[in-house]
């Protein structure tokens, strides 16, 4: 049993999201932040995507109308980011699973992080190239 004191009336704490600013992030924290941001971002897109897919049931006119939105340049940039997000999230997800199920992996945490970055870039750069080329070709 430990005796604790009543909370001070006036006090300061660094709890909550503002604490993120107070810590100089090691690689693991960066990889997690990206993982979460990409995960939530992709989720947001997914919700949107479900709505638009639902519209296929209303026939080609309605659906094709909507495609203008998707063909908007801003949206096409967003699409590149989406693909990048999925790539990163997938690669990092594999890293997390390796750490979870391969007992020796924790020793190579840094290396795995750099590996994820390498895989991500290797996949993403050509992808982005293709997608940007498509945008330019589409005019």
């Amino acid at each position: 049993m430990t005796v604790t004191r009543a909370q001070e009336s006036r006090s300061a704490t660094t709890r909550g999201i503002s604490a993120y600013r107070g810590y100089r992030p090691p690689p693991g924290m960066i990889s997690w932040a990206f993982h979460r941001i990409t995960g939530l971002g992709v989720l947001l897109f997914l919700l949107l995507h479900i709505v638009d897919i639902f519209l296929v049931n209303y026939g080609p006119e309605v659906f094709n109308e909507l495609l203008f939105l998707y063909r908007h340049p801003v949206f096409r940039i967003g699409e590149i980011i989406l693909v990048g997000a999925v790539y990163y999230h997938a690669a990092n997800g594999v890293r997390i699973m390796l750490i979870d199920f391969w007992p020796a992996a924790y020793r190579y945490e840094r290396q795995l992080f750099y590996g994820v970055m390498a895989v991500f870039l290797l996949a993403f750069i050509p992808t982005a190239f293709l997608m940007i080329r498509a945008i330019i070709q589409a005019g």
Binding site: E8, T13, T14, R15, G22, R24, F101
Partner: protein, 231 residues
């Protein structure tokens, strides 16, 4: 060599929120940050408040944020930091004053995991036997000095009320001790909503641990133990 310490200050009797103050001190490159802090306290501004005791990294008193990372002030040398050093209290705890934070929630987390050997079988006359291999399984986690560097470096801890790495490290110490008999109870505690599964393998804890404990590895071992033994 001259260094500038930028220190976060807060006195609940006079301040409404924390602020920073700078101190310039003359130190040896091989001095500890703790020496610089002591120098400020002893000769410049006696009101600067921080905890300290052993001064060589074994008691866990002086965990604080040094240049944005959790460190023991007595285990970081000035030469590894350069001439400008920012010192702030640990994140995620109530600040009592300056660099002193309320550790009670931390120790409450620790107590949650029943951090003691439980074995109600009548003990033998002499020691219980344990092979060096069995002993090695939990060697790493016996090093913990409960400094809170890990828990307060964990981004998940900053935003929710989960158990935190230090408590799990101490649970691990008993879970992997062949003499302990409370595995199921302990695993049940760790399996709770804000138990071990909240860990997102961020590794800030391992990076911060001044005792070099493989904190994340210990947590992962516990996860696998629950996964393969409990479910």
């Amino acid at each position: 060599m001259q260094v500038t310490l930028r220190i976060q200050r807060f006195n609940p009797e006079t301040d409404t929120k924390p602020y920073y103050r700078e101190y310039t001190v003359e130190v040896e490159p091989t001095d500890r940050v703790l020496d610089a802090l002591n120098y400020v306290k002893w000769y410049q501004d006696g009101s600067l408040t921080f905890r300290r005791s052993c001064a060589h990294g074994v008691c866990g008193s002086d965990a604080m944020r040094i240049n944005g990372r959790n460190r023991l002030a007595c285990k970081v040398l000035i030469k590894d930091l350069g001439p400008k050093i920012t010192i702030e209290p640990l994140l995620g705890f109530r600040i009592i004053r300056d660099l002193v934070v309320d550790m009670e929630p931390f120790f409450a987390q620790y107590r949650t995991v029943m951090p003691y050997l439980i074995n109600e079988e009548p003990p033998p006359v002499r020691e219980r036997l344990q092979s060096p291999e069995e002993r090695a399984l939990y060697d790493d986690t016996t090093k913990c000095i409960l400094c809170a560097c890990c828990t307060s470096a964990c981004p998940i801890f900053w935003t929710n009320e989960w158990l935190g790495p230090a408590a799990i490290v101490n649970a691990h110490r008993f879970l992997f001790d062949s003499r302990d008999r409370a595995t199921e109870e302990r695993l049940a505690i760790l399996n709770q909503r804000f138990g071990v599964w909240r860990c997102r393998t961020i590794f800030n804890c391992t990076e911060a641990c001044p005792r070099g404990i493989q904190v994340t590895n210990a947590i992962e071992q516990v996860k696998r133990r629950i996964l393969f033994e409990q479910s």
